[in-house]
């Protein structure tokens, strides 16, 4: 009886301590943050469903990553990998066995305690045959996942994988017994799902049993919009406090000069590509691809679409990837050079190709610009506008295209140039080998060295034309602080946001 009482007292003390740590001092602005305030978030990316292994898409990553579900590791907004549900881990000398020790005292929203069996189940969900996870192929190196006891997970690999820990940042740890994860959730994060009203809002409530620092706010509501103008109107009328990713450059002006709002430009990983079908004439010739790259004034395109925001990178690797290098000089904007290269490749009289252009912004604008730029070197572009759905069938699946425009959102995705079966069909044994070796490298330094080489080589061969890197612009009411500004991999950690 007494020991029970002692337990209750101890638990109460813990609750009090937890409450104490939740009340932090005033924010930098001087106003006192309101820990009960609900943050209204405006976004263009509504989840398709709530399962990131069943086609939930970018929206569910934004709403749930780190907020509702947690991984063994967390990718911070600055791009660093921190331990999260894994307290610590060890790697065997041959690099093939990873032993993860789980954090104690973690419970799912349903009340069940986290065990190694849940972690095993969660990893196997991503690698399963019917998984729709975009990152499934990154984890194919995993041969087995074992749970020798409740607190330990052992992962065995087929070969070394230097990115394994990074790749585990987007594997959600779910309750192995949970059902219907496409419409419900059972994670360990600081928030639980309140209600999802499809087509309108998704709310997250504080999870009182959270193991870590409780959220700095009383909950969040994501408001979904299909139109950037409507989203900006909502921000202007205080219907939302923050916009996760500003996609309407024209609208920025009304916020930049206004003391009621803060505009921050962070790092994005979204690249706009003019992707050639490297298998087919005329783009099977590197010279033709280089000529096209040199004939297009990327700086002018970026200026006309984003008015000074965003940046040119000249390759597939954004500055937030460790193997970034400024390669904008490799295929400089030079119309005369482009003409010479075309002549050298046997197209002195010019050529004609069809550009498959996704129907949504900014692709049609970019296509029109490319058409007028290429006309100057004698290339005729036929613009063929297609829906996202057609793009997947025609371009991605059937490789039935000459060139296409597409935005590629993920970081560390230069590795697709090592896969000749990928939609653009870049087939270069040397690059494939470097990319394969990079993943099997012993150290991150070795990996960085190899991927730099691969990246330089694809730029020299103009495997694609990397038009520009999108800006990542967050606009928020000025009484808000603690929000992520980079949103790497479409994440949007909401637990740190304070409203005063």
């Amino acid at each position: 009886m007494n020991s029970k009482l002692a337990g209750v007292v101890a638990a109460l003390a813990l609750v009090l301590v937890a409450c104490g740590s939740g009340q932090e001092g005033p924010a930098g602005g001087g106003a006192t943050p309101d820990a009960a305030a609900v943050i209204e978030i405006g976004s263009l990316y509504e989840p398709q469903n709530l399962d990131n292994t069943a086609g939930g898409g970018q929206g569910v990553t934004e709403a749930f990553n780190g907020n509702v579900y947690e991984g063994l590791f967390r990718l911070t907004d600055a791009g660093k990998v921190d331990n999260l549900l894994a307290k610590e881990y060890a790697v065997s000398d041959d690099g093939l066995t990873y032993t993860f020790e789980l954090r104690d005292g973690v419970t799912f929203h349903s009340g069940k305690a986290l065990t190694a069996a849940d972690v095993k189940h969660s990893i196997e969900r991503v690698t399963a045959d019917d998984s729709q996870s975009a990152r499934k192929s990154n984890l194919e190196v995993i041969e087995s996942v074992e749970a020798p006891d409740d607190g330990t997970v052992v992962v065995k690999l087929a070969h070394r994988s230097v990115s394994l820990v990074y790749n585990l940042t987007y594997v959600w740890i779910v309750n192995a017994g949970a059902k219907d994860l496409a419409t419900a959730e059972d994670g360990t994060g600081p928030y639980t799902l309140g209600a999802w009203k499809r087509g309108s809002t998704l709310s997250l409530d504080r999870f009182p049993g959270y193991w870590g620092t409780p959220p700095a706010n009383g909950g969040v509501v994501f408001h979904y919009f299909t139109d950037a103008t409507a989203l900006n109107n909502a921000l202007l009328t205080n219907a939302v406090d923050i916009v996760t990713s500003q996609q309407s450059p024209d609208a920025l002006e009304q916020f930049t000069g206004n003391p009621d709002y803060k505009v921050s430009e962070g790092h994005s990983t979204t690249k706009l590509l003019l992707a050639f079908n490297d298998r087919r004439a005329p783009f099977d010739k590197p010279l033709v691809r280089k000529a096209v790259s040199s004939a297009i004034d990327d700086a002018k395109l970026l200026e006309s679409i984003w008015a000074g925001h965003g940046s040119l990178i000249g390759s597939m690797v954004p500055p937030t990837d460790p193997w970034y290098e400024d390669l904008t000089k490799v295929n400089p904007y030079d119309v005369e050079l482009a003409k010479r290269q075309l002549a050298q490749a046997g197209y002195a009289k010019g050529l004609r190709f069809t550009l498959d252009t996704p129907s949504y912004d900014p692709h049609p604008t970019a296509a029109a610009f490319i058409k007028s730029e290429l006309a100057k070197v004698g290339i005729t572009v036929d613009i063929n506008v297609i829906t996202a759905d057609e793009w997947y069938s025609k371009v991605y699946k059937n490789h039935d295209f000459a060139a296409t425009l597409q935005e590629h959102v993920n970081d560390r995705d230069v590795v697709w140039y090592g896969d000749p079966g990928f939609y653009w069909g870049y087939d270069d044994e040397q690059v494939s080998e470097w990319i394969k070796d990079a993943e099997r490298a012993r150290t991150p330094e070795e990996q960085t060295e190899l991927l730099k080489k691969a990246n330089r080589r694809i730029a020299e061969n103009a495997a694609s034309d990397w038009l520009y890197l999108y800006p990542q612009i967050v606009v928020a009411a000025s009484n808000l602080s603690g929000y992520p500004v980079n949103g790497l991999n479409s994440q949007f950690y909401a637990y740190g946001i304070k409203k005063s």
Binding site: A195, N233, D389, E390
Partner: protein
Amino acid sequence: MGRYLLRRTAFLLASLLLAASLLFVLLRLLPGDPANALVSVGATPEQLAAARRQLGSDLPLPQQFASWLGGLARLDLGTSFVSKLPVGSEIAARLNVTVPLTLLAFVLAVVVALPVGFLAAWRSDRWYGPLLNGVAQLGVAVPVFWIGMLLVTVFALRLRVLPAGGFPREDWAEPGRALTSLLLPVVTIALVMSASLIRYVRSATVDVLGSDFLRTARAMGESFGCAMWRHGLRNASVPVISILGIELATTFLGAVVVESVFTLPGLGTLLVEGISEHDYPVIQGVLVVSTLAVLLIGFAADVVQRLVDPRLRAHVGGGRS
């Protein structure tokens, strides 16, 4: 009348079945693949095949059709390919917005259009008769989204008296807030709808004003008001009622434009999302429900017309119903 109603109901069900079969077939003829909505850049061909198996979109068409019709007979519209939510409840949630939006706009439009249209015809010799008619013409020519954006700019962004869009999370639990968020969309639709209604009401009234029966009624000593009330309005209303039915149906289907301007989670936006994702169960569900709504509206307009005009009853029912 009883036999007429029975026949009309049978006709309604047959039309619905025919429409459902047609749209099932037509949807399958469209190029594209529902599995595409579930994958993203990085997916392998095996993953695409697995997605198709999961959705059942790799099954033979007759089998898919039979299972869908079977569900329909049990009032089960199936599960969305993409959101994995039951289509029936998704549609019900959207009707919560679209039905009040359409009906309120309809009532407002009728309340405005009837007197204005009548006035435009009756006072066509005064300066404001042609003016009202001209304004109505202009209203027909202006696109509905433009009116919506104008109202947002004035009332939401400048005056800040009404929300720029959205619908409360609590739905109709707080009717005041729900109505506030529907106010601008309702006015937008009503403006456009009344513009075209005014023209129909006006021309129907002009016909009646010049008719022999009205002149005869006046000659027999009835006052203008009395003659108009007993004979004029009744005659003028017959063509107007069928137009009202058509207008109501078009507004219900066309609400999508206004819904997207005001970010309302209505039926139209659900349909647009469904189409872009090849989400067959959602598209089919929305179209079956809207077909049913349109058929019911037509049905109601027919019945009201027969009640108003005894000649229709005599003609169709052979004088005995």
